[in-house]
Subunit: 324 residues, 2 copies
């Protein structure tokens, strides 16, 4: 399954959207345009704009408002990725050098702020206050989720409920917003907005669980960034929590100490990875992700049959089947 396949019913929309999106990022500052051109060369999976278009289609029909909503969330998403890379001192993003690596933190922080402002301004310009309402809260949740993660990293005592809260805030909040904005842009009623919002929340959590699993199971060449990154950072994610739950008390203690140690060496990273595999951490985490996706699918099966709904279902499955 290829991610472009479920873009089929919205292909011409996405093409038009890409031109529209590039226009929204233009500025009168040459340095900014240089960074933006670099960003546009390394676009990601475009999961979020796709979710906006498919949700709009499934909720009644794509409109001009859908373009504004999709551009808005993609601007905010791009902004948060740039800030995330500063926060994580990440050298790579999508297989290319990150903005902070090429232009330093200074430019990365400012470009992130510009794109954040540009996204919100776009909604203001189009009087899309319901979009703003759905989005400003997601931006708050995203920064709170990241801060919660930093705090837990310091105390190094993440448990599953904390993990789920962090994942909900930092990843699912914007995906929920995408689905909700899609529904709003189609003129759907509140019940449909809620339904698609909940679909997005569940898919969003599943998406992040898959990301955290890939950090254990993928390879650098496929992922476009080094694997074992979370462990090196001391981040305790679902696969590890589940493996710890399955292990003996002594093994669990040893592994927690290994992850707690301020500098996790390469040998230790391999040790943690094989511990997680051996104690079924991957399988158990993926089971949870699958349940979330199936729940999400059951929800939107309440919507009328359409090619958009079909593609939303495929996209939901893709979030947990993908290898990068």
């Amino acid at each position: 399954m290829n991610q472009t396949q479920f873009a089929k019913p919205i292909e011409s929309h996405l093409e038009r959207f890409n031109r529209y999106f590039a226009r929204q990022m233009r500025s009168s500052v040459p340095l900014l345009n240089l960074v933006v051109r670099y960003l546009l060369r390394s676009r990601g999976k475009q999961l979020r704009p796709m979710l906006v278009f498919l949700s709009a289609g499934a909720a009644g029909g794509i409109t001009d408002r859908t373009y504004v909503g999709a551009a808005m969330v993609e601007l905010l998403h791009t902004a948060t990725l740039i800030h995330d890379d500063v926060v994580d001192q990440a050298p790579l993003r999508r297989g290319l050098a990150s903005i902070n690596a090429v232009w330093k933190n200074k430019v990365a922080v400012l470009v992130g702020d510009f794109l954040l402002a540009r996204g919100l301004l776009l909604a203001v310009e189009h009087n899309e206050y319901d979009f703003l309402r759905a989005t400003a809260d997601a931006v708050r949740r995203m920064s709170e989720g990241e801060l919660l993660q930093v705090q837990n990293f310091r105390k190094r005592r993440t448990d599953e409920s904390m993990y789920l809260r962090i994942v909900g805030d930092k990843t699912a909040s914007l995906i929920t917003t995408c689905c909700r904005i899609g529904a709003i842009s189609a003129g759907a009623d509140t019940a449909v907005q809620e339904l698609l919002g909940t679909f997005g929340e569940k898919v969003g959590i599943a998406f992040q669980i898959r990301d955290d699993v890939l950090d254990y199971t993928s390879r650098t060449a496929i992922l476009g960034k080094p694997i074992g990154h979370d462990i090196r950072e001391g981040k305790i994610t679902l696969p590890l929590l589940r493996a710890i739950a399955n292990a003996t008390a002594n093994e669990a203690k040893e592994i927690r100490q290994l992850v707690r140690s301020s500098s996790v060496r390469n040998g230790s990273v391999e040790r943690v990875i094989s511990f997680v595999e051996q104690h079924g951490g991957i399988t158990s985490a993926m089971d949870t992700a699958c349940t979330l996706v199936e729940d999400a699918i059951a929800l939107i099966e309440q919507l009328p049959v359409s090619e958009y709904r079909t593609m939303l279902i495929q996209l939901a499955r893709y979030t947990i089947e993908r290898n990068k």
Copy 2:
């Protein structure tokens, strides 16, 4: 003249505002509340909330909306200061360790994002879309202005028109927004909003010129941060541009080379400071700031006489008379 003096007619409002503002910053994330408490201990001059309240008073009267507007701009201003300190790797802010110095860049970027989102959300919650319109554009201009400065720093060829554009974008844009939001919150008509907006733009540019002058003339103990910082950073500001214009071609060339050199040493910083003083850079820059302030005052003298208007005039003069 003390800055608390012109707060007289709005004293009780400012007291109530401080409690209101602290409430807006609350979060469910303990680490965030810790940072917020630290921030609240080291509040600045509160120039921006004061401008909102005084503008509202001068434009017809302070309302509940004025509180929302003042909190919004103060949240955004606080956010941008935190990001600025990351960008500039500043160790101090208002005489205390900066957030990036205490909690590292990671936390500083995220807290800035949180406060930015919180400010915009506040307006959304109160359906204050005109505030958003005035503000989202200021956030865009602030990041563009900073990026323009970074870009010019790289090319090291700032001239006066570029300097004024950067100052307008990075400092005056939010001050304009404060005055405009004050007028909107008072229910003033568009002409009064424009008039107060232009007042703010002029005062804002004068304020930044004074800041740039203080970087040459103040002392670390008064300013709460090291002087000569701009020169060390390779930032060419108005006092230096004016001194270069007054000097012989040879002297100017020598100084430009000194500032261009990638690491400006302590001896060189003193050399540049005395060059600027000797060639009337300080006086000339301050002349421009004074003219801007007098123009700004002439504008608001078109408004009805009130204690608020009087205090706005005093506040305008204070921006260029202050020593820190």
